[in-house]
Point group: C2
Chain length 241, copies 2
């Protein structure tokens, strides 16, 4: 099912289905009426990620590799991510990294700070995560700290929109309006997806951030973490402008 779904939307997906071993990861998500949620995750086979699973040739073919901070909890997965980052650095592939969640940042602050400064080109973080990373109370303090730490930092702020900093550039981007926020699951990843879509097409950073906001707005307007309409069609007016 996953293989078909992914290939049908144009994803190059090389992973053969497993015939034995642990089950695919599942995550049971309870969504409340205020659109917030509680996650109960079984990592399953994902917890068995090791450096052997990383194919440097595949990473070298990519413009950007997107890595998830959550996996830093597991030693083998951490080693796999380090290998992926090194492969990316060797090949000139950009490393995008999401801090994943505030508790995750709490557990790995020192290492995440080192990653942000030394290995990550494009950092994605929401407000909780970036405040936690720098142990500050004010968004602006975190903003000043992250400037210069990464080539690009994309800080998402829920209804306050997002701020993108890259060297001397700072962009303050509003959310794309939605009628009703139903379920915020996937908002961060969809923002990253939209942003990286624009980035890999050499669009200016403000347009990249708008694409992120647009994709995030779609996914929070219904239950579930996958868009229900074509993001390409949604983005067409923006890309034409």
């Amino acid at each position: 099912v996953f293989t078909h779904d992914l290939r049908s939307i144009g994803v190059e997906y090389e992973v053969p289905p497993a015939v034995d071993g642990p089950a695919t990861a599942r995550c049971l998500i309870v969504v409340t009426s205020d659109a917030e949620r509680t996650l109960n995750t079984y990592l399953g086979a994902a917890s068995g990620l090791t450096p052997d699973h990383i194919d440097p040739a595949l990473i070298a073919r990519a413009q950007v590799v997107y890595l998830e901070g959550y996996l830093w909890d597991l030693d083998a997965a951490k080693a796999a991510m380090v290998k992926a980052m090194q492969s990316a650095a060797d090949a000139g592939t950009k490393v995008a990294f999401t801090l994943s969640d505030g508790f995750c940042v709490d557990r790995h602050r020192a290492e995440f700070l080192e990653l942000a400064e030394q290995r990550v080109d494009i950092l994605f973080a929401n407000e909780d995560e970036i405040l936690s990373l720098y142990q500050v109370d004010e968004f602006d303090d975190a903003l000043q700290r992250v400037r210069g730490h990464c080539e690009i930092a994309c800080l998402t702020r829920s209804e306050k929109g997002s701020v993108v900093v890259a060297g001397d550039e700072v962009h303050v981007i509003d959310v794309h309006p939605v009628d009703q926020v139903v379920d915020t699951t996937g908002a961060g990843d969809l923002y990253a997806a939209g942003f990286l879509y624009g980035y890999t097409r050499d669009l200016d950073l403000a347009t990249c951030a708008h694409l992120g906001s647009l994709a995030a707005a779609e996914v929070i307007s219904h239950l579930g973490a996958r868009p229900e309409v074509s993001l390409a069609e949604l983005a067409a007016p923006l890309l034409a402008g």
Copy 2:
């Protein structure tokens, strides 16, 4: 009454009461339950402002002179403001200018752009006003345009907080929380007051903006455009931090 009120809070106020001529300006403000308002203004004696009323020695003694875009509607007042700006420039006094309102910017866009680029050191504008000044739809577009136009630009965004840009520095500052927004009259001027208080004491720009947010939060939490509590006491924790 005004003289007493102003002097009692430490304002140096040199204007003798008039014994004849037009009345003091009045503004009848209708405030709706959503805290927005409609202004009916009679400028009265204020419409008689001319360059003769500007005392260059007084301006030379100040660190900052704060000018109101509204007065640009009247030729003599405009000449008075130009004289004030020139006196300030000659004396090394900084010129702060507020765009006042979006309609006002519509009427005087070309001149306000020239002022922003050539005569204003510290520009205050809300979102409507800055979008109107640059005739753009997106806040970030206005932000990029205003960078470099003024030494400092303070852009207030109602519940979205404010953004302060000054050369390479960009600060994104949240609003100071209020229990209930009752009447937004005075918010812009109190923000400017708080900001300039900090500015004239050489505080960093983020602290200046926080002082502005704090003063604005006080004045929007009740009817009327004057603070009802001591702003100095309100600001004490911030200044101590």
